[in-house]
């Protein structure tokens, strides 16, 4: 089970990273969401016990799932949610200012801007 | 008497639900177009859930029973709408029916025979 959890976390993280490397802004956001999911899954897997839901009345003699990791996971999910929402609207604004969703076009804009600075400000020897 | 039978009925309902859902999922794979898939996927699975919900009625825990009832009511209201919306989207995008001899009274000629070149 430990190995499977670790592998799943690794896949989530790896796939998220793969998407982070794509040119499409939306895929990048999806990458962030997946990577956050990896962290959430890790958090809940890091619980020190697993069993019944930690809600009273608790059945005697049965292991109780670690409530603390659940609370942490909850918090992390919500935070990732808020941030992803912000990131999505940022994608839209980046689009409206660059008229492209492609990171290649966007980094080209960065390079162009930098080159115009380089040519404007000649270095003093 | 009822208490003795209840678990068995519950088991049966569970098995039935699993069966119906399996049929639904299989139908989704087997059916040729979105319209026919809809019958299997959305509805058969919905019935499977209902079957499970009936099964949980036998648990005897009011907390479960009440919620199960509520779930059933909500599902009755929401699944048709979701199915309808998806079908409507396919219809508006002009997705074709792929079964031979399909009937189309919509006036948009979604059956293959109506407008072969479309």
């Amino acid at each position: 089970m430990i190995l499977v959890s670790a592998l799943t976390i690794a896949v989530l993280f790896g796939v998220g990273s793969y998407l982070l490397l794509q040119r499409d802004l939306i895929r990048v956001v999806v990458g962030i969401i997946l990577v956050s999911n990896a962290a959430n899954l890790f958090l809940i897997s890091a619980g020190l016990s697993r069993g019944q839901a930690p809600i009273y009345p608790l059945e005697e003699g049965v292991e109780v799932s670690d409530p603390l990791v659940q609370a942490m996971t909850l918090t992390a999910i919500v935070i990732a949610f808020g941030i992803s929402a912000l990131l999505m609207s940022l994608v839209y604004r980046v689009y409206t200012s660059h008229l492209s969703l492609n990171l290649e076009d966007i980094s080209e804009a960065e390079v162009r801007e930098e080159e115009s600075i380089e040519s404007r400000e000649v270095a003093e020897d | 008497m009822i208490a003795a039978v209840a678990p068995w009925v519950a088991d049966a309902l569970v098995v039935l639900g699993v069966f119906i859902m399996t049929v639904g999922v299989y139908g989704m794979i087997r059916m040729p177009d979105i319209y026919t898939q809809m019958h299997a996927a959305s509805k058969a699975v919905f019935l499977g859930v209902i079957s499970f919900l009936f099964a949980s009625m036998f648990s005897g825990d009011p907390a479960i029973i009440f919620r199960a009832a509520l779930i059933a009511v909500f599902l009755i209201l929401t699944t048709p709408v979701a199915a309808h919306m998806i079908a409507k989207a396919a219809y508006e995008r002009g997705e074709k029916m792929r079964t031979p001899g399909a009937v189309d009274q919509s006036g948009r000629g979604l059956n293959r025979e109506a407008h072969p070149g479309d």
């Binding site: 019944q52 839901a53 809600i55 | 678990p7 519950a10 088991d11 569970v14 098995v15 639900g17 699993v18 859902m21 399996t22 639904g24 999922v25 989704m28 794979i29 979105i34 898939q37 809809m38 996927a41 959305s42 699975v45 919905f46 499977g48 859930v49 499970f52 919900l53 099964a55 949980s56 648990s59 825990d61 907390a63 479960i64 919620r67 199960a68 509520l70 779930i71 909500f74 599902l75 929401t78 699944t79 709408v81 979701a82 199915a83 919306m85 998806i86 079908a87 409507k88 989207a89 396919a90 219809y91 508006e92 995008r93 997705e95």
Partner: protein, 88 residues
């Protein structure tokens, strides 16, 4: 006996969940994908109901309840976007 039924059913449901997830990915058209996702949420409801039954707790039913009540909003949104490229 009952445990075994529930247990096998749970495993089976998880498998069905997997099949519908695969369908979301492999379906031929977008409408089918939306349909598959809708099916997936229904199976999810079923799985949660089953899990509640197995554990004899109502705790997982709340998630099922809100899935039943509201998850179709996402299907609707996807369908509207697919059908008319619009939403809201």
């Amino acid at each position: 006996m009952h445990e075994i039924v529930f247990y096998v059913a749970a495993v089976w449901m998880t498998l069905l969940l997997g099949v519908s997830a695969v369908l979301v990915i492999t379906a031929h058209s977008t409408s089918m994908r939306i349909l598959a996702l809708d099916m997936l949420t229904l199976i999810l409801v079923a799985a949660l109901v089953l899990f509640s039954d197995a554990q004899v707790t109502s705790y997982y039913l709340d998630a099922a309840l809100i899935l039943a009540l509201l998850s179709f909003a996402a299907s609707m949104a996807a369908a509207r976007y697919y059908g008319e490229r619009n939403l809201f």
